[in-house]
Structure formats: structure tokens, C-alpha cells
Symmetry: C2
Subunit: 348 residues, 2 copies
DNA sequence: TTGTATGCGTTATCAA
DNA sequence: TTGATAACGCATACAA
């Protein structure tokens, strides 16, 4: 049997028209047979003929054409600060899992911590007519930048796009917000309960909202316990591993009397521990450490790091559910669980 | 001034036709003005009128429509086994960086180590008419699975798609292949040079080609040095952190006389070190360890881990260059550099 | 340089 | 249940 509608063998893909011709049915019927989405309104034998023809011609539906005709895509946009950071890549795993279950392809945008690129990527995803956009990562206290983001997201949503984020709910979109303040306070109380009294905080960037929430939650709880953290025991630095390392170097330079260091995220804590070791400290004997997030890597460091555990994969799933409207809340608060490990054995 | 062609305010996006009407030019002129790609064949004042109109109407070009009309997309497909694994997420960072530079959006597919899903994602990316597909991750020695993959990729390439991969060049696409064998051999010689004589290998899955290359390169080099690794000192296990952990448990159960353990990747080595510690060993005194990849996390473990350093970000860039045809080689070999750290201080 | 008209591959509306 | 046919939004060959 010779294929009537086969396109030339040199790279031209078979279209639905070719399939229809090959199967001896109309374009409409072929479309219905292959899609069958709403109502199965095509006779079984015809459907089979179409499916066979499609198989023979190695037909691949053109998603762009479908997007045009249907008026919507099956694309989900995911914007992260740094995909190589375990915090983001773990959440991304949750997002891809949920997106997959929903039949959506994930378009990944890596901003490299550049807020302006976030806006640019929203534009790109708007152009792609992504069905939803998910934004991961704490916001900065920067009104101008936030306003631009807000506008971009508003414009996107006005055109029918859905959006959700992980972070502070200040951009006019649904959000999964980690209870940074409460969990950090709980961590502070736990450490205080262990007997620690002299604290330092590697507090991240001044204007980084997540860093601020963790810093403040921690310090306020200690203040309430009558054990305030001295101002010069709070060191600002970037929210990344090297930031933690460098902040620890600065802390040691100040030669304060400190028992335990809280870094506002795990990668910073790990960098800080390394800095402490480089300075000759013996951990956890000479200095206790705690972090936040509970990234996988913590399982294999020594001493194992006390931290606040958040379920990043699940946060990824949840923010996807929000974005896809499978969950109608506007704000989901993710709680953190204090996990005490070897790095905080209690004061010697 | 009232906008002539403005669509209703309720979510309907402005199209190029609206922009053209608003600017008082034809659709074609508007298209040329906004695109200006090939030849700048539109009068400056008109161009400005169009751009202003687009701005006013908050015009967002429909990438799907452009894809239809142009016959190509600006999408790059990226398929990884597990985006939350630092090896993959770091390479992904390189890919997104390069894709960004090339003006391409990255569609991320996370297979969760399921080979069948790789084939499925290739189909999806084919449907999306992705301009190129990048496949990251070592292959299995599984002819049936590889054949299905090969077919899927061949079909994709016949239709004009480009493809490249990181891993063994056995799928008929361009590849960046790490010199696992050579680098592992070099590592073996370095360790031997330190004086180690009693080796064990946490060798990953039997049929995992990358694992096999590293395992064999390591063992063969030692054999050549007259210091063969005993068969029962090579433990098979999954290529992930827990695999390394469990393999180490098994190794210790066998109670062999071992000085140094080579795990075929870093996350396995980290899991193995934790297992050794759980068993009460003091590292590196009681046991030396070495891994492969040099993931970022190694900087902050104790003892710091000896390994083979590969530049994963650059590998991501390179495989993207291959996929986009910016590099016309079929095969790029990425070399690894032996890095000796505290975990291999030499026999006591 | 500008405009007209056609086609890209689907879906969906409307008749039959 | 099936088949014509009109969108969908844009790029471009061709004509002016």
C-alpha cells in the first residue's frame, strides 16, 4: 500500500492533513480521532484508521498550531534565582513533578539573582503564552524592582495567565510563604533551651525579605527570652554559600564571645562552618552552628547541621497547585520544623 | 487620542493587527518594524509609530504564531535524570546560561531516572518543535532502551531538530563525553602514588556506562600497577547518594582489609562517608575516600573530599554549543583533573 | 519602502 | 457522526 499523503522524506513532518488523506477521512475527523478530548464522537473503525495512518506517517502534532487554535498552551513557566543552588533545584523537582502530572511542559528561567531578568523572563513567558508562571525565591525590599515585577505579573494575569510564587506575598499573586519568622523563633527557643546564651547571626542581605524574616524572628525570640543578640553579632552578607563563609570570617575578626552561630540558610551555614575550620576551630566543640532549609547535603556534613526543615519538594508541588488553580487559597503558609543535630550539642 | 484597534480590556491581548491599525500602517509594515530582523526596510518615522503603538497597546508577540509562520521556534529542550541532583542542576545552569545567550527558552524535562520517560519527553519536545534537544546523563547498557532512544532522536533529527548529549556517544547525536576512564585511571595512580595499596570501589550500577567507565578505568590502572582490586571489593549499587551509603554498609559488612574507597561519583562518596561514620570510623584516619565530579558541596564537607574535577557548568555550555551547531565537532571529550584533598592523606 | 494576500497546522463552528 | 470552512496571529512572497 502506498501512502497517499506522505510528505517528502527529507525532513518535512507529516501534518494532520496528510494523516487525514492517508486515512481517507476529512481533516476534522482526523483531528477528532487523534484528540478525542471532549466527546468521543468518531466511529471506532474510522478512529482506528486515523490512528494507524498517524502511526504510519510518524505523525507528531504541532503543539504551536494547537496553541493557536485552542487559544492556550500546555506550558508552565518556572523562574528561579539559581538552578544550581540546592534550594531552588529541589523545589524545581517538586514543580516538574506536579507539572508533569498536569500534562504541562516546564519552561525554566534562571535569573542568576538578577531581578531585572525576572521581568524579562515574564515577558518571554507571556510571549510564549505560558498557562502559568511560577516564581521562586525571596523578594528584596526594593520598591522599584517589586513594582516592575508586580506590573509585569499583573499584565500577564490580565491576559489570562495564572501565577504563583514561593516567597513573600507582595506581588499580587498567590504564594506559598514559609513561616520564616515563626520557625526561626522556634529555632532560637530550642537553642536557648539547650543552654546557649551567646548568639551570633549571619543575617544575609539587609534588604532580602526572607533573610530579614529569619533574622528578626530569631533575634526577637531571643530578646523575649531576655537574651538579646548584640548588634555587632549580626553580620550582613549575600544569601549564598560564599556569603556565609565571608560573614563568618568577619564575625571571627570581631572576636566576640559567641557560642552559637545562626546562618539564615543552610548553604551559608556550611560556608561559615568551613570558614570556622579554616580558622582552626574544632566543630562543634569550639562553636555551634544552625542553618535553615534542611537541604539534602546536610545529611553528609560533619557535624550534622541543626536547621529548620522545610519540605522543598512539597513546596514545589504546592506552588504548582496554586498556580494551576487546583487550590483556591491565595496564601499557603509552609511551616518549618526545628531539627537539632550534632552541630548544636549544647554549651560545653 | 482614542486607540482605534484596542481590544476590549478584559484579557484579550492586542495582536499585531491591532498595533498596525493603531499605528495606521499595514500588518506587514508593523511586522517588519517590530521585528526588523533581516533588512531594516521600514522608514524610521513609521517604525517609531509602530513601536509606540505596540507600547501603548502593551503588545506581546505571540511566540506560537511566530513559530507557525517562521517554521521554527526559539525553544531548547533539556532532559535530565534528576534536577535536584547537584550534578544535573549544575550542568543545567550552564545550559540555561548558553541558551539565554542564544535567545532560546529552555524547556526542562525531569525523567526521575526513568528511561522510558526520556523517550516520552523527546516526543513532547518534538511536538513543541523545539529547535534542539539536550540530553544529560550517562547511558545504561540496555540495548532495547538505547534503541528506542536512538529511534526517537533519529526521528527528531530527520525532522530538522538538532540534538546533543552529555554522556556516551552511542545515540547517534553529538556528545560531550567525560573522559571517565582516563580520569579515573589518573586518580588511581595518584592514590597509589600516595602509598595506598588496598582499594575498594563503590562501583554504581553494573550496566550504567559512566559507572562502568570509572570503575574500569580505576581498576585497570591499579592492575597495571600490580595492585589489582579484589572482586569482592567492588560493590554495585544505584548511582545516587543512598546507593553510596548502602554500598559502604555492604563493604564494611564484608570486613575486607581496605585503606581507601573510590566511589564513582561524589554524592555516592558522601553517602559512603556518612555510612562509615555511622559505623564508628574516624575519617580520614580509619578510611580514605575519593569521589568523582567535584560538586560544589565538597567544599564544605569534612574531611574535604578528593575527587576528579570536571567543569560541569562549562560542560553545560559546551553541549549547548554542540546542539546549536556553534561547534561542528561530533564529539567533545571533557577531561577531568585529579584533586587530592584531606580525605586521602596517605596511608597512616 | 509599503501593502496585499497567502500559508503555517490546528481546533471548532456550523451544516449536512 | 462526518465534512467544509473559518478562525488563530504572524511572517513573507509578491505586487505595487
Amino acid at each position: 500500500m502506498t501512502s497517499t499523503g506522505t510528505p517528502g522524506g527529507t525532513g518535512r513532518a507529516a501534518t494532520l492533513s496528510h494523516v487525514a488523506r492517508e486515512a481517507g477521512v476529512s481533516l476534522a475527523t482526523a483531528s477528532r480521532a487523534i484528540n478525542g478530548s471532549t466527546n468521543r464522537s468518531v466511529r471506532e473503525d474510522l478512529r482506528q484508521r486515523v490512528l494507524d495512518a498517524a502511526e504510519r506517517l510518524n505523525y507528531s502534532p504541532n503543539a504551536n498550531a494547537q496553541a493557536m487554535a485552542r487559544g492556550r498552551t500546555a506550558t508552565l513557566g518556572l523562574i528561579v534565582h539559581d538552578i544550581s543552588d540546592p534550594f531552588f533545584s529541589t523545589i524545581a523537582a517538586g514543580v516538574t513533578e506536579a507539572a508533569d502530572a498536569a500534562g504541562l511542559a516546564v519552561t525554566l528561567a534562571n535569573t542568576q539573582h538578577d531581578a531585572e531578568r525576572e521581568v524579562g523572563f515574564i515577558q518571554t513567558l507571556q510571549n510564549l503564552r505560558a498557562r502559568a508562571i511560577i516564581l521562586i525565591g525571596g523578594r528584596q525590599d526594593d520598591d522599584a524592582a517589586n513594582e516592575r515585577l508586580r506590573e509585569a505579573l499583573a499584565s500577564y494575569q490580565e491576559r489570562g495567565g495564572a501565577a504563583a510564587m514561593v516567597g513573600q506575598p507582595i506581588l499580587g499573586v498567590k504564594a506559598v510563604h514559609v513561616d520564616n519568622r515563626g520557625a526561626s523563633a522556634a529555632l532560637a527557643r530550642s537553642l536557648h533551651g539547650l543552654g546557649y546564651r551567646r548568639f551570633a547571626v549571619l543575617g544575609g542581605p539587609e534588604r532580602h525579605l526572607t533573610a530579614a524574616e529569619r533574622r528578626e524572628g530569631f533575634c526577637e525570640a531571643l530578646a523575649e527570652l531576655g537574651c538579646p543578640v548584640a548588634d555587632d553579632a549580626v553580620i550582613a552578607s549575600p544569601f549564598v554559600r560564599d556569603g556565609g563563609h565571608d560573614a563568618m570570617v568577619e564575625l571571627m575578626r570581631r572576636a566576640l564571645d559567641v557560642e552559637v552561630v545562626f546562618a539564615v540558610n543552610d548553604v551559608m551555614a556550611l560556608g561559615a562552618m568551613t570558614a570556622a575550620r579554616e580558622a582552626g576551630l574544632d566543630l562543634p566543640r569550639d562553636m555551634a552552628f544552625a542553618g535553615f532549609d534542611d537541604i539534602y547535603a546536610l545529611r553528609d556534613v560533619t557535624p550534622t547541621l541543626s536547621t529548620v526543615r522545610i519540605d522543598m519538594v512539597d513546596i514545589g508541588r504546592q506552588v504548582t497547585a496554586l498556580a494551576l488553580g487546583e487550590e483556591d487559597r491565595e496564601l499557603v503558609t509552609a511551616s518549618g520544623e526545628v531539627v537539632l543535630r550534632e552541630s548544636t550539642p549544647g554549651p560545653q
